[in-house]
Every structure is written in C-alpha cells, then in structure tokens.
C-alpha cells in the first residue's frame, strides 16, 4: 500500500485532464481527495506493517532487459519516511492553494504530477527508474512557476529549470558510470551497493554524483536557484520546492551517491563538509539582510538544508539519521513558513517588503497568522520540543567525531538562525507598534478554514516529530545499520 500515493497522484493528474469545466471547484476537490487518500494509504500501510531495514518490493516488471533495468518499486524505512513527508506536504499544499483562480485544472494536474514524481523517486529501487522520476519533476515545476508565479517568475522558472537540468546532467553522468561499469549488469540498487565500481573511478565519479544531487538540496555555491525559485513560485509550489523537492536531492545523495560509491564518500567528506558549513553560515547571514519576507525564508532554507548536507557529508550513522530527520523537519517547517508568507500574508497585503508590512499591523489585523508564524519560527530556530531541535542535535553529535570545527561553526549557524527569525517575526508582525490608534489599517480578511487546517496539520507534524522522534528513528536507523549501507560503514571504518 506504500506505493498507493504514487499511483493515486499519477492517476489524479490524468483524471484532472478529463475535468470538463476547468473553472469549477472540482479540480481542487479532486486534488484534495487524491492527496488525502494518499496520506491515508501511507498511514494505514505503515501502521499495518512498520517499515524496516530490508526493502519490501511493491512492484517489479522487466523493463529494459539489455540494461538490466526493471520497473522496481520498493520501500524501506527511509522511503516510507519521505513518502509520508510528501503525503503530508501535498495535503497542506492543496489546502494552501484553495484560492487558485487561474486555470485551476491545469494547476492541480501539474501539482499532482509533481507529487507523483516525488513519490516515485522515494520508492524507486532501480537506478534508471529513480532518475526518470527525478527528472520528471523538472517540467511541472518549471510550468508551475512560469505560469502561476509572482516576482520575476519567468527568470526564476528558467533559472530553476536550468539548474535542475544541469545538476541532473551531472547525476546522469554518474549514473552512466555506474550503469556502464557495474559487474552484475543490473541497475537494482541492492545489487549495485553490493558491487561498487572500482575505487579509482569512485574517486572522480563520486563528486559528480553527490554534487549533482546536492545542487538540488541547495549546496553552496550552487544554491542561488533556491531563493529566487521559492520567491517566484506560487505558494503551493514553493511549499513543495522547499518542503520536498530539495529533499529529492538529499535523498539522492543518501540513497545513491553514498552507498553506491562509499570509497568516494570517504575521500570527499571533508570537501563537502566545508561546503555545507559555508552554506549554513552563508544562508543565515544573507537571510539576516533581506527585505523581502519570502527571501528570508528562502535563504533560511539554504541554511537549514546545510545541516542535511553536513549530516550526509559526515556520513556517520548518527549524522545520517539526523540528516533524514532534518529533511522531514525542514520539509514540514519550510512548508508552513512559505504557507504563512505566501498565502496568509501576501495574498492579503500584496506586499512582502519587510519595511512596508509594519503598516498593516499584522499582529492586530491577522492574529491567527501571527501565532502560526511565531510557532513556525520557534520550530525553525530549533527550540526543543519541535522537530528542528532533535534533528540538528543528531547532525551535530554525529559530525563531532569527524570534525569538531564543523560542529562549532554549525552551532554559530544555529545562533544566526535565532537572530534572523526573531528579526523577521518582529519586523513583519510587531514593528507597527508605533502607529497611532487612529491610523490603524483596515482589517484583513480572516483566515479561511483550509488555511487553518493546513497550518494545523503541519504544526501537529512538527510537534509530533519533536516530542516523539522515536517513531521515525525506528524506521530510519535500522536502514542505516542495514545491508544497503554496509559498504559505506566499512569504508568509514565503522
């Protein structure tokens, strides 16, 4: 049943094209129904059978026998974790785009196609199939931004698409190496992990593969697509971009690059560790200086994804589990932050300028959004009790044996995170305190039910994960200790 969200989304995207009246509320209802059904399916599936270390094959068809490629879907704890994240984000995304008026049928068709592609990436157990889904996501996200976006949307959409395409070109080069040189003549991920390519090949092919994936996760200095893309995207798309698509890259590093080229991972951990730490600090510092509300969140995503990348670069089991937790945590929190900025604030005030927002006295005119953003901000800062805390602690503890300096610098990044978050909360919601009572702005439309539901879902998720991380850790850690990562543990001498 874990694969149902994938089937449902792809089916939904197809079904959407059959909707006859494109302007009716039917498309959004259908999208919500599909997303909810997907979420229900994954929940039922993991409750009935908790995912473990071994991948459970869900579907297997011969595909291209001459290459040893098959249409092979399988799920272990990692896949299940990320499918769950995607399902949550997809429901929230539909709720936050309930007010899309322009061509909703096409919007939701592309939206579901994007969701389906992401589920597909997380469930593929075949290298080629993985890449097919990975690249399938590029076109819908380009179109979503170019046609439904805001600020400089065409530029941002093209930049995003070209970055994605170039980074996946690097990935494809790595995949060609893996597919061409492999001994068992199969693209099955388990077999590829069992028979890694020669060490001297890994030494130059690993950075191609890892960096190619990591660009999509916002690796400094290739991160600039992320803020511009997030800002220009329509709300649901930026929720997905920051929430899930950046995780596709991180997941690629974790599932493909590290276990399939373990020797390369060991040789390059320091380089990528440095880049990740720079990303953490750089993203935070730039976020501190932004005037555009959405850009703050965009750069904070770069900073937070830096923790994911740091965990991946360190590659100890503890750091890796922290990276996965941070993927989920940031997926939920970034979705929430973008939801507040894009849907709740921008759709009502039509400005995201932090110098103009005080005039709206959002703490009075939009108290609901204020509360939600404060909660989300706390979660984003890494306050204990929210998911960000537990994830970052895992990453830092896991990185400690590799390099104390990385940990110290990343700690500075956390402090900077507190600073820009508090600054933004103040500037966006409370800085209008000095405005005299007789010049109060007109009240804004109150939060709608879909907005409240979406926010509640995401807040509940981050709290649940923060208070009881065991649920996910019990899925994640056995995988990291399992057969898929044997080669990695061996090469790191663990």
């Amino acid at each position: 049943m874990i694969a149902w969200p994938l089937y449902l989304s792809l089916f939904g995207a197809l079904a959407m094209t059959l909707v006859r009246r494109p302007d009716s509320p039917l498309p959004r209802r259908l999208a919500l129904g599909i997303s909810l059904a997907g979420l229900a399916a994954i929940l039922v599936a993991v409750i009935r059978q908790p995912p473990g270390a071994e991948p459970v094959t869900l579907l297997r068809w011969d595909w291209i026998p001459s290459l040893g490629a098959s249409i092979h879907l399988a799920a272990d704890g990692l896949s299940a974790t990320l499918v769950l994240l995607t399902a949550v984000a997809s429901v929230a995304g539909v709720l936050f785009s309930w007010n899309v008026r322009e061509r909703p049928r096409e919007f939701f068709a592309l939206y579901l196609l994007l969701i389906g592609a992401m589920h597909g990436v997380f469930l593929s157990w075949d290298l080629l199939l993985f890449f097919v889904f990975y690249e399938l996501a590029i076109v819908p996200k380009y179109l979503l931004i170019a046609f439904w976006g805001s600020t400089r949307r065409e530029y941002a959409a093209m930049k995003l698409a070209l970055y994605s395409f170039l980074s996946s070109a690097a990935v494809l080069a790595g995949i060609v190496v893996l597919a061409a040189g492999n001994v068992p003549r199969s693209l099955d991920l388990s077999l590829l992990a069992q028979f890694p390519v020669a060490d001297r090949v890994q030494a130059w092919a690993f950075p191609l593969l890892f960096a190619g994936f990591a660009v999509l996760a916002g690796l400094w200095p290739f991160h600039t697509w992320a803020p511009t893309g997030h800002v220009a995207a329509p709300t649901a798309a930026s929720m997905l971009l920051a929430g899930v698509i950046m995780k596709l890259g991180a997941y690629g590093c974790l599932r493909i690059a590290l276990p399939l080229m373990p020797e390369g991972a060991r040789d390059w951990r320091f380089v990528f560790g440095v880049l990740s730490v720079i990303g953490i600090l750089w993203g935070a510092l730039v976020a501190l200086r932004q005037r555009d509300f959405k850009f703050v969140i965009g750069y904070s995503s770069v900073s937070h994804m830096g923790f994911v990348l740091l965990g991946l670069a360190a590659a100890t089991p503890l750091a890796l589990s922290g990276a996965v937790l941070q993927m989920v945590s940031h997926g939920v929190i970034a979705g929430l932050l973008f939801g507040v900025v894009g849907r709740m604030v921008y759709d009502r005030t039509h400005t995201r300028d932090l110098n103009e927002l005080p005039n709206f006295r959002l703490d009075r005119t939009l108290p609901g959004a204020t509360w939600i953003f404060i909660l989300a901000g706390f979660a984003s800062m890494g306050l204990p009790g929210f998911s960000g805390f537990i994830a970052e602690v895992h990453v830092l503890l896991g990185t400690w044996p590799v390099s104390g300096r990385f940990v110290a610098l990343a700690g500075v990044g956390i402090l900077l995170g507190v600073a820009y978050t508090l600054r933004t909360i103040h500037q966006a919601f409370f800085a209008g305190d000095g405005i005299p009572a007789d010049r109060m702005p007109p009240p804004l439309a109150p939060l709608t039910l879909p907005e409240k539901l979406g926010a509640a879902l995401l807040i509940a998720s981050t709290l649940a994960l923060g208070l009881y991380p065991r649920v996910l850790l019990d899925w994640i850690q056995p995988v990291l200790a399992g057969p898929h990562f044997v080669g990695l543990r061996r090469s790191l001498g663990l």
Partner: protein, 506 residues
Amino acid sequence: MNGPLHLDLLTQLLPEAVLVVTALIVLLLDVRAFRGESIAVRMSRAAWGSILGLVAALGVLRLEIASGDGPAATFLLQGPTQFLKGLVLLMALATVVFAIPGRFTRHVGEFFALVLLATTGLLLLAGTENLLMLFVSLELVGLSLYALTAFHDRRPESTEAALKYFLIGGVAAALTLFGMSLLYGLTGSLQLAVIGTRLAANPVSPLAWAAMVLVVAGLGFKIAVAPFHLWAPDAYQGAPTPAAALIATGSKVVGFLLLVRVVHIGFGSAAAGSAGALPWRPGWLPVLAILAAVSMLVGNLTALRQSDLRRLLAYSAVAQAGYGVLGVLDPAPESRAAVLYFAVTYALAVLGAFGVVALLESAGIEPTLDGVTGLAHRSPLVAGCLGIFVLSLAGIPPLAGFFGKFFVLLHAVDRGAALDRIWLVALALGTSAIGFYYYLQILKRSLIRPESGVAPALPLPLPVSPLNRAVLVMLAAGVLALGVAPKLLLEPLGASAAPPVTAAAP
C-alpha cells in the same frame, strides 16, 4: 546470377518494386487524368495514391525471410533490417499525410513521385552491405531529395537551398566514392564484411586511414554532423515542409544505419584507434569522436540564436546527430540497436514537430517562435503533441528521447570499458542543457495566452484535418510508448538481454 535467383530477388525486393510502380502511376495519373483539377484536388488524390502504395509496400514487406540474405550480401533481409524498412515506410507515410494540406507546388505528381523514389532509395540503402549497391542507392536518395528541396514554387530560398544541398552533397558523394575506391583497392572486395576482415589483418596504414576519413566524411554529410552540416539549415527552411521532414527523418535514420554498418562491419574494431587517454592511435574512432564533439557544440550553440522553427530544428538536428554518433563509438554489436533506437525515436519526434510546422504553414502562420505563441489556446491537442515532441528532443524522461540519449551515452564509454571517454559524455550532457533551454522556449511559447500585439489575428481554432490529427497523436503516443517500454523497439532492432544476474557475496 541466373534465372531462379532473379525471381528470388523480385520477391525479396517486392516493397521497393511496389513503390517504384506507384511512383510511375501517380506521375502518369497526375499528368493525364487530373490535369484540369484544382491543386487541392490533385494534391489529395496524388497523396492518397502514394499512401495506397506505401501501405501496399508495408503489406508485402515480410519480416521473416526464409531464404536468407540475397546474393553475396547485395541485399540484406534479416529481421532488424526489414523492421527498419517498415519504420522508414511509416515515416514516409506520415510525410505524405503532412503534405496534403500544403499548397507549395503546381507539380503535384512529380512531388509525390519523388517522395516515393526517395523512399525506394532509402529502403535499398537500408538493405545492403555492398559498396556498389550502397553508392547507387545513396545517389538515388540524394538526387530525389535535392529535387524535392527545390519544389517550393513561391520561395526563392527553396532553389537556393536546393543548389547548396546539391553542391555540398555532390562533394560528399565524391569523397565517399573516392574513399570506397581506396577501400576496394586495399582489400579487393566490395563486401563490407570481407573488407572488415581484410583491414583487420594489418595495422591501419595511412591509405586505409585516408579511406576511412573520406567515407566517414561522406556519411557525416548524410546525417548532418558538423562540419558537414551547412546545407541543413537552408534545406530545412527552404524546402517544402514535408520534403524537409523526409530529409530530417527517413534519410537520417538510414544515414545512421549506414554509418553503423560501414564503420562497425566495414572497418571493424581492429581499426578503431583511440579517442580517450594517450597514446593516440589512428582509426575511425578519433574521427567520429571529433565529429560528435564539434556537432554537439556547434549545433546547440547555433540553435540557441534561431527564431525560425525549421532552422532551429535543423541546428538541433546537428546536435542530435552528434549524440547519435557517440553511440557508434562502441564497436560491440549491441551498440547498433542503441544507435538505431536513438535515431528512430529522434526521427519520430522530429517528424511530429515538422507535422506541427506544416499545420502552422497551411494555416498561414509563419513557423517561428512567435508563430507558436498561444498554440495551446488555438488547439490544445496540437500543442500537447508539440510539447511531447519537444520534451522528447530535450531528453526528458519518460519520453523516448531520454532513453535514446541514455543508451548512446552508455555506449560512448563502451559500456564501461573506456571510461576515459567520459569527457564526451560530459560534453554531451553539458550541451544538452543548452538544448533544454531552447526546447523549453518552444514549449513555453505554445502555452502563453496570445495577447494582442504578440501574435497577429489568427484563425481560432487552428484547422486540423482528422487524418493529420490522427498521425500527430500516433506519433506522440509512439514517443511516449517507446519511452515507457523501450523494449518494443530495442528487441526488434536486435538488442539482446543482459546475461542473468549472478549474485554472489562480494
């Protein structure tokens, strides 16, 4: 050859014979019976005649030939060859359908007769390993295509393009012929297989290398790799669109078949040389590697600056030819299926794109990037098909273009045996990002809502005949289906399954 053999030949070459007869009938009927009719009526009657002929040729094309290859490999009749002939016939069929609404010539009968003759030449070319037969059919195809290029009555560029095509083609043919004569002198045989074994017996002599370079250059003209590509943009733009479609598809597929056959069978792996790490050795491999690299760069960079769709397709064709040549670098027999898969799926997508161009032209719209603007609002179906073709050309999975590119890239490094050629893969992937940009421009334009000022007042919606629509949808479905299930094409083209996995403890 004696009597019974001739009868054999006739049965084996029945499709070609049917085409020639049809060409003559179409020519005669148009000159005699339909003389007084309007051009529209003559176009559609001649086209239907040609369609009947092509379908008949498909009907008599047998995939399984019991009697084996023809006399002394003059005519090859194994499964993959016959299958490919079928595909070429289908492409010609689509070309003819696209021609129906066109109003570019008064010489209707001649046009379709030439299309049929060019197709005949392509079929003959696809089925031979004999240098003499090969050259004669090459010329049949070439002369028909030069004439077809000049067929546009009202475009002066048409004649200019044809002249350019003809002159460059003539030089290329001369080079090929000279190279072939050298090969014959060196080996004393016209059979590619024999040439291959005799060349392999000795190290590559300077004369042999010259012969290889000459022959490869001539074939490079056929598939329009840089620097032998200069005719392509003019021909694509000047020729009547259906003729351009035939040049870009059927002729291209057979060109690739020929390249693979001549290089792999005629020159063989012994004469490969090296294109990666030092020491450098002469052979066909470095020649092809350089052609591929130059084509990918020149094609993609030049296509970036085009606003006319046909020129854009021409330069992108140069780039795609570069990708295709990468697959030829692997001398193993499996690479042939990969190269042909690439060529066929590429041709399907380009054929569709030309179909859309022809539709735009017959609706009076200039086929430029501006002309495509708002296509989705004029005809969602046509725009959807165009989107699929363009994305397939850009290499976005799950469309066939992606797998084609993936397969040839895999063979560019010899399935892992020559990882030092990874620079070619890197170049291909890097330049395909440029390609992605301009293909995406077409897609984006077609989806934009037409605003006043951007696009002139246009008929809304775009008129599309049911037949035309059916062909476009079938091509799009083909591109999608061959991507989702590449097996459908790979296996008939001769790809064998990977050896079974023997999972042992490492």
